[in-house]
Symmetry: D2
Subunit: 341 residues, 4 copies
């Protein structure tokens, strides 16, 4: 028995993917759709004949059958749409980044807490099999202490109109990073620029530092001759490369490192030995991350669980995005993060 | 007719390569060699039977036949050895980085100027066919305005004992960068750390900003699961990738970019079009860069020419290395460069 | 004004792709579909709501509105279905390989000729932008004389039940080869085996020889650790690699070769010089080959043109497939092709 | 205490490498060298000052101190030089291929047997760490039954004047193949041609069949746009790729395959399941194969052991080379091998 209905708001670039998966998981009586652009609804209706188009957001808010709202609209509208949905008793899954500002994110969290509703952010990569596998590898201690992480996410296009390359692409890397490393970075700095004339930064080099010593470099761009989706993680025991553009061998674990040999005869001198061992590429499940994410959200709603990428995850990313924008507006100034949740 | 002799000082890692090329260019009567470690001289003598080992640097300084001294010793000794050579009337080619400090570099330049001797630094990559080709491509305007450059030089090992990864590896990228782009960056920032216990930084993420808007990211490390030697240059017209690990296709020029179309009906709105055209990999000469460098130095000495990588080039790199070290010691603080030559 | 209707027969693996494109080109009043397996029709009906399911092939044959029949059924049924369609006045596009035997192919050609109907075979690769580009490159003489071609088409799976790996995969390579080189090979030999227990060969090494001296190697397999789709073409002037697995740089043209220098002093002695020049990867259109193929078929039907991949093309491939099977059944015996059309 | 001396005959392309290793293993009192071209001896003498040039082969044959002769001359001279050496009581290591004909190979084996001297052929790849590792993997049963092997060894140049591409390159693949698979193939066929005007075949496609069902494809060429050194081995349990051009990951083992599920309800029907598991790249020793080979030869001489690549190994390769040449001269005719040793 199905008990509830869902609504998908925003059918532009990403919304149809969300819609397809909401249909596929087959947990709702009805699926309502809304977009200010009628032609986008029509296009979806042709493909997904069962959906119910709705001409105003009001109708969704007032429909008591709907208990889940999926917000896939431009960033600037996330806050208001989500707030209205929560205030009308709906559980909400918002696309990333969750909100434009830290204040907005905090307010959404507050409302959802007061009303005991689920608030989740669509950090899709946190549900992807390779990121899950890397998380497991790090938690097992296989890599040892994490020395540094270098993340590159560059390609030609697509310049977005409502969000800079930091909000668009670095959001992915930050959410992956925060999934992998529990410690919170204490400073961020970013150098960036806007070359194509739309005032939104299209290239950024971001650095993060951790109290534990770990350092992270994130390189994002909409201007690149080739598509790169690469994360290099160097630990004290092993090293790992995650290349998301590969169909095969997305993850490679290298049994490589440097061992420090103390030389007792030499008053504090040491010797370094480089170690090179096997390379292993673990098999990964092929499930679509977005399907896992949407199933998880519905599971949280139906069974009262805490979402893996809850409002606090969304807030944390927004806080670092805000700081990265601020740093790059100040020419790369180091911004210390006051990480009180 | 050969008129002069040469001396190669320091026969550790790089010195034997210099020696081999000094022998091969065949421009000297005699080639003297010196190293504090006798076993290193012996090893070279076995391979290069014609060389003349010298047991003290004094002997080289006092030998009037010698007009060229090649200094391949650890960084901390560069200044004193070069100064002594210059004061004794020798032309000097010093390995990179030229000196430990800006002050030392300036003093060597002064002495060489006063004594009308050639002072050159061994920025070998500036003599390499791919870098020369890229310089030509940029000067021809083929790439258009340079938006950003992303440089990666990472591999496992070799930790050096006298210089951090910044002085060791970023020296290459800075000297290449300064060859390619004449404008001087006006700020630098660096985040780095020392993970293997020798107090010398073994990973660094360096950012540079130019007044013209160009931004540069340099990623160097002695700790990496794979060897990467990649420079991505994105211009307003075309884009280029230089991968020095490839035997073939070291340079690829991508006829790719974004064109901005003004839409007259839309009050300042614009449209972006992504362009994808042919990819060309130009053929490159196969000459060893070090051979070109050494021939060039001798040519400058013999014919009174200005070395392509003269003391000012060496000084410029040292100035940015010093600033990068300072920035990373201050947690990534932005250092403004006062670029008076 | 649309005048006619179409029918798509067989909705298994490939049929839905044909159907999607037949719908997309939007040239028919109605599109009828038939499959012996009702569940396959239902699945397509859900996705493509406008199609008209038909429960028997008779109904299609007797429907005078239908002038185009697309046959996407298993190989063993091609001949009878196509023959019935032609005899009922329909133009026919048959999936590759066209028929199981040379005799069947000849008969279909005869009928289509007598009835002035179009008979075309779905050699999709002959419509793909990279193959078209290579054809143009060869015709321009850019490669010079073609010395040899080496084609590899291997991957893990999918074992088919009605056709060996020769009929399944080598069909593609033969049709590409015959498009690129007009001369007909005069001999073929093949070594193959069936390792997974279904009696259909799952690996084959095929060699072809031309009177002009050109030789060709085709390597096909359903058993391979990685997917390879590579064709290497070596000519007297330049060389070319076509890698269909790449999203970028599917074609690379290498300005490489060997030049023979006659040495006048040495009584017939010669010297070889290896030439290495630029590598160029031409930009390619991104159109789906199947869409081009289907548009072309409809264009031929509507405007009385000769199909690019007509019955004779289909027959030629079937003749070589038959010979390859025969050769491999005889342990690799060389089969001379009597190429009378 | 060293007891004996060695002689290296032929200092062209490969001889200096042999000489360098004969010097490095440091097991001989004196190392004599001979080449008909004095300039080649002079060149070696400059680099390896300790060697003793000898102006005639007679002197080597008559020198009783010499117990090991390394023959690195053109193929056509192997037989006579080796025969003379054996008849004069020397142990002999001959470069591959061992002789021009099967008859010559048999005679050398006979003489060495009668005189109890070591006769070894320089199949260097059989001593290389990746080939040793693959041999171990196959012997452990990790790959299961070997279905097929596909070997590619192509590059641009170097056309040799005394041996076709079959004798030059396929020798490597045959010797590797015979090391990996003990069973002897029972037939061979080859299609080849000579495109550059020296009458020696410069491209060949070779097929081998085994009684057990295994089939092998060897693709060799001196004319290729890129260098490929790849062997794909597909077994019933796992698959393996050996790419000798890589510095890293020369061997990859893929836990992939097809499992056949018998369906009890369906009268002999079966179902196939494709399996995809981890990929492992085992670490390999970095020792130079030629050093291992030469040490092994000396070890066999000094300690009375049977060489791993003895005369029978050399003969076996020569027998298949002869058959491959014969097959390709007959247009690809299948040659049945009568494998009596």
């Amino acid at each position: 028995m199905k008990n509830h209905s869902a609504a998908v708001i925003g059918l532009g670039y990403w919304g149809p993917n969300v819609l397809r998966n909401v249909i596929d998981v087959d947990k709702f009586d009805d699926i309502y759709c809304h977009d200010l652009d009628i032609s986008k609804i029509d296009k979806c209706k042709r493909r997904f004949t069962s959906i119910k188009p709705v001409s105003s957001y009001e109708n969704i808010l007032n429909n008591d059958d709907i208990n889940c709202v999926f917000i896939c609209t431009p960033l600037s509208t996330h806050y208001q749409l989500a707030k209205d949905a929560l205030l009308n008793g709906k559980n909400v899954l918002i696309e990333k980044p969750m909100t434009s500002t830290v204040e907005e994110a905090k307010e959404l969290i507050d409302i959802s807490n007061k009303k005991s509703l689920k608030l989740m952010v669509g950090h899709t990569f946190e549900f992807s099999p390779p990121v899950e596998k890397i998380k497991e590898i790090i938690q097992n201690g296989m890599l040892g202490d994490i020395y540094f992480i270098s993340m590159t996410r560059i390609n030609l296009g697509i310049h977005r109109k409502d969000v800079s390359v930091i909000g668009d692409l670095a959001t992915h890397d930050l959410s992956i990073l925060f999934r992998l490393i529990e410690e919170e970075p204490y400073s961020i700095s970013a150098v960036s620029n806007s070359f194509v004339k739309n005032k939104l930064k299209d290239v950024a080099f971001i650095n993060l530092r951790y109290k534990s010593g770990t350092i992270v470099n994130i390189n994002v761009s909409w201007l690149s001759p080739k598509k790169i989706r690469e994360t290099i993680i160097v630990g004290s025991k092993k090293m790992l490369i995650y290349d998301d553009t590969k169909s095969d061998e997305k993850i490679k674990i290298f049994d490589r490192g440097v061992d420090v040999l103390k030389d007792p005869d030499s008053f504090g001198e040491y010797q370094l030995t480089y170690r090179t061992g096997d390379i292993i590429s673990p098999v990964l499940e092929a499930t679509e991350p977005l399907k896992i994410e949407i199933s998880h959200f519905i599971d949280c709603v139906n069974n009262g669980l805490k979402p893996k990428t809850d409002g606090y995850c969304g807030l944390k990313v927004v806080r670092f995005l805000e700081a990265a924008e601020k740093s790059s507006d100040r020419g790369g100034e180091v911004i210390i993060i006051n990480g009180a949740k």
